[in-house]
Amino acid sequence: MIVAGIDVGSLSTKVVLLEDDRILAANILTTGEEGVVMARKATDEALRKANISFDQLEYIVTTGYGRKSISFAKESKSEMMCHAKGAYWLFPSARTVIDIGAESSKIIRLNKNGVVEDFVGNDKCAAGTGIFLDTMAKALEVSIEEVGELSLKHKEKAMISSMCAVFAESEVVSHVHRGTPRNDILAGIHDSIAERIFGMSNRVGIMDDVVMTGGVAKNIGMIKALEEKLGTILHVPEHPRVVGALGAALVARDSK
């Protein structure tokens, strides 16, 4: 049986095609203005990669911000459930999932059977999310792909005390004017996000093993900052951005 999971995030739309226990294809596109159009396009591209047709899909589950707007899907599930399911499938020892996407961050606690016990998410604030990092990278004129590696080359960590994306940006600019080395500022930025996640994580508790998902998991500087703050190692999937879509596909597979 072939199924699809679609994660319509605020920045990108991810699709995973699954046949029983085998991933057939995965695809990522920018969400853009029309969620449903891009979701279909992303699905079609994934189908082409796997050389199968849309009609062969027996069940489609969506997740993410735009999950309710995808008319060709059968069901929608919350991101908490899908990230948990995807992470547990990849790492059966996972008891905590930290997901940091473009505009959301969440911490999900699982029991040993992969059942979600509790979760916490950011509210209406960009602090501790990918957009926060993106804004800071722009302020420092560094590409988002480089920020992680560069931050590891710091000599000292600059102090970024503000949790607010707007105020943190002006703090970053002040550091630049004071002549603080760029890599030190970047390390400080990663630390401030780690602080934010740490504060949130104490509300549900962090239990090993910890898996990190979402686009920000591609940032090695962020992984290191979080590992230091949480005092544990993070397991990062090969393709952290599609874990939510994978979880949705697993929900689809199990729904049939």
């Binding site: 911000y65 599930k77 919350s78 991101e79 908490m80 459930m81 948990a84 399911k85 959301s104 059977n113 992969g114 059942v115 979600v116 016990e117 509790d118 979760f119 998410g121 950011n122 509210d123 209406k124 509300r203």
Partner: protein, 379 residues
């Protein structure tokens, strides 16, 4: 039925017009009472209309010149309304020392836009010992004397006893409504429940009782529509009206509210006044009741968390939704204990932070959906 319900809804969503109209129609005075603990019966006995102060329906602008933006929605919005002269129809205002955020509100109003009549009471905390009760009775006497001066007439013992009866009757009707919802969850939507209780705070009690009395048999005839829904309890919203949009989200996520512990809900009509020899003493005794636990006046032995666990179990609910009003110190003070206790008892609980300005409904929707998924198995 629709007519009565829409009257309640209208009053709840736009109290300004409804309350001002009552004044115009009757020629009587309106006395605003700060939420939660003012014994409205004494105002009622004076022949004036007590209304519970409400959170307005527009964005706070001018108010931010007088109050911090990290105050709760009720205090910010109330100050805003006062400064914009939107509450000019209120002849008097009665405040008391409740929480940290509300503390500066009365003096801000007295200094900058004093109403025709103004009274600040010191209501004591609920510690055991006669001294607190005696002090409270003194305060109630002071309140009565002030009201007599404002109304220009004496408040007799008979009038007080009559008002106690009127309020008790209204409480028992609201209790019947809540019993009905427990018996047939889903028959009354959460936003309807809110409007019915809120209207009771904003209109003449006898009229409200009459309308509610006519509505009840019709509500009892409604069909139950809660099949397959997850039974939950609402908690929080201590002083202020929750947004109906958020109540709708809870229901849309697949939950049905079977009972609540919110002020514009079961807290308002909890505990009737037991009539005795002295009506002020009777009122004081209702005030001194320890349940529902009041986090602004609480004694440290009566735990809110235990009370809520019992409420969940009694109602065979599967979880609790905490509506945490942003920057509400009393709720924030007790929330960690509530969270810990619910975790220990294995009862799912989700916290939704609410504020005057509705923001990021989608985040709330996701959280509520995930909460339902966790209750249904979490896999």
């Amino acid at each position: 039925m629709e007519k009565v319900m829409s009257r309640f809804m209208e009053l709840s969503t736009d109290p300004y017009a409804g309350v001002a109209k009552w004044k115009e129609d009757t020629g009587k005075k309106i006395i605003g009472c700060f939420p939660m603990r003012i014994p409205e019966e004494i105002v009622h006995a004076s022949g004036m209309l007590p209304v519970v102060m409400w959170r307005g329906n527009e964005a706070v602008t001018l108010g931010h010149s007088y109050v911090h933006n990290f105050n709760c929605g009720l205090t910010r919005s109330f100050i805003d309304d006062v400064m914009k002269d939107k509450l000019d129809f209120m002849d008097g205002m009665i405040f008391y020392r409740s929480c940290l955020q509300a503390e500066e509100i009365p003096s801000t109003i007295e200094l900058n836009a004093p109403p025709r009549h103004f009274l600040y009471l010191y209501l004591p905390p609920l510690y055991p010992g006669a001294v607190f009760r005696d002090f409270l009775i003194q305060q109630l006497k002071k309140m009565k004397e002030n009201l007599e001066a404002w109304a220009g007439k004496e408040i007799t013992e008979d009038a007080l006893n009559n008002s106690i009866e009127v309020y008790n009757k209204n409480r028992s009707l609201l209790k019947r409504l809540y019993e009905l919802r427990k018996r047939k969850p889903g028959t009354i939507r959460a936003r309807e429940m809110l409007a019915i209780v809120h209207a009771s705070m904003l209109m003449d009690k006898e009229e409200h009782s009459k309308l509610l009395g006519s509505l009840l048999p019709e509500l009892e005839d409604r069909e139950e529509v809660a099949d397959g829904k997850v039974r939950v309890i609402l908690s929080g919203g201590l002083c202020q009206t929750p947004h109906t949009a958020i109540l709708d989200l809870i229901e849309e996520a697949g939950m049905v509210v079977v009972d609540d512990d919110i002020y514009i809900g079961s807290r308002y009509f909890a505990n009737e006044v037991t009539p005795g020899n002295d009506p002020l003493e009777s009122l004081a005794d209702r005030y001194m009741k320890k349940t529902p636990p009041d986090p602004t006046m609480g004694d440290w032995k009566t735990l809110w968390s235990d009370y809520m666990v019992d409420k969940v179990r009694e109602n065979n609910a599967k979880g609790m939704v905490s509506l945490l009003v942003k920057f509400c110190p009393p709720h924030l003070c007790y929330y960690p204990d509530i969270k810990r206790t619910f975790d220990k008892e294995g009862i799912p609980e989700v916290m939704i932070e609410v504020e005057h300005e509705v923001v990021s409904v989608e985040q709330m929707r996701t959280r509520l959906q995930a909460f339902v998924e966790v209750i249904r198995g979490g896999a």
